[in-house]
């Protein structure tokens, strides 16, 4: 596995070096989440860079966004 003492899983490298700009806090993400989810449900191509960057970087907020979109899509 970690035989030469230097190799790292590519997935870990990607997570460590992820560019999380523009910065958006978890609280701001939560504030925007209801409106964002409605827009994504109305248009799956809806683009919101700060939200998308945050959701790609924050597992807990991403989990919440997925569930909210699921609920609004009638799957809940």
């Amino acid at each position: 596995m970690n035989t030469n003492g230097h190799d790292l899983p590519q997935t870990l490298l990607d997570k460590l070096l992820l560019d999380t700009s523009p910065y958006l806090s978890c609280d701001e993400c939560f504030e925007r989440l209801d409106r964002y989810a409605e827009r994504v449900v109305a248009d799956p191509q809806h683009a919101d860079l700060p939200m998308q960057v945050h959701l790609n970087a924050c597992g807990a907020c991403a989990e919440e966004a997925e569930t909210l979109i699921d609920l609004l899509s009638g799957r809940g």
């Binding site: 190799d7 490298l13 070096l17 978890c26 209801d34 970087a57 807990a60 919440e64 609004l72």
Partner: protein
Amino acid sequence: MQTLHRVRADHPHSTPRLRLVDEKRGVATGPCGNMLIVSDDLAQGIGSSVVSDSVVVAAGEEWVADLNDPGPAGHEAQAKLHHLILRATRHQVWRLRDQVVAASAGELEDLAQQAASDAMVAVLGKLETFEGRSKFSTWVFKFGVFHAGVAVRRQAWRYREVTLPDTLDPVDLGAAPEAHAQGSDLARAVRRAIAEDLTPHQRKIALALLVEEVPIDVLAERLDTNRNALYKTLHDARRRLRESLMASGHLDQPAQGSAS
């Protein structure tokens, strides 16, 4: 290596916040630049209803106005609210059930019910902050989803120790062999940057979240802090790592004009 045990701490989403609202009737601009509609005429014009001086709801959600009514109408409105919240918490608990594999159906339902109670308190405490930028039901759902997620992750980690590694070396990187970068210069540089360029606090938080994969709200509870603070620390740590690797030529410079 530091080991943390479970402590209870309230999340900022659970505490009422002050609201910035233009008290004048008419149209005011909300904190994010969205239009906050506080006039009956305007609200009716977009198919919404004004239920108080500052709350606008979509057609069919007028019952929201009764939530603070001490009589039967209030009880009925609160029952509707609880029903909405419970729908959200049950859905979230069900989606995350793999995180609590040992839990029975009854225990999952208990989690959903407890999360619904917490979310109900949060929603009622923040009613005045609802600005009508989404449907009221959507706004309510997000509280249910949030509290259910917190409950499931807390339950999943209830008896697990949280370790805060000081270095990357002792961490068990037990991923699939094919997922490993083969001792690349980049991996070597990342190890060096973690050891030399991060503050001790940034290093502990980044390794706990990304290597140990401790859920951010579980870590926040154990450290008696909040999700926001940890995410900001992680954001700063990632930026430092990237800057270090750009300086050493292991990463390309970002395109001009990108924010930080």
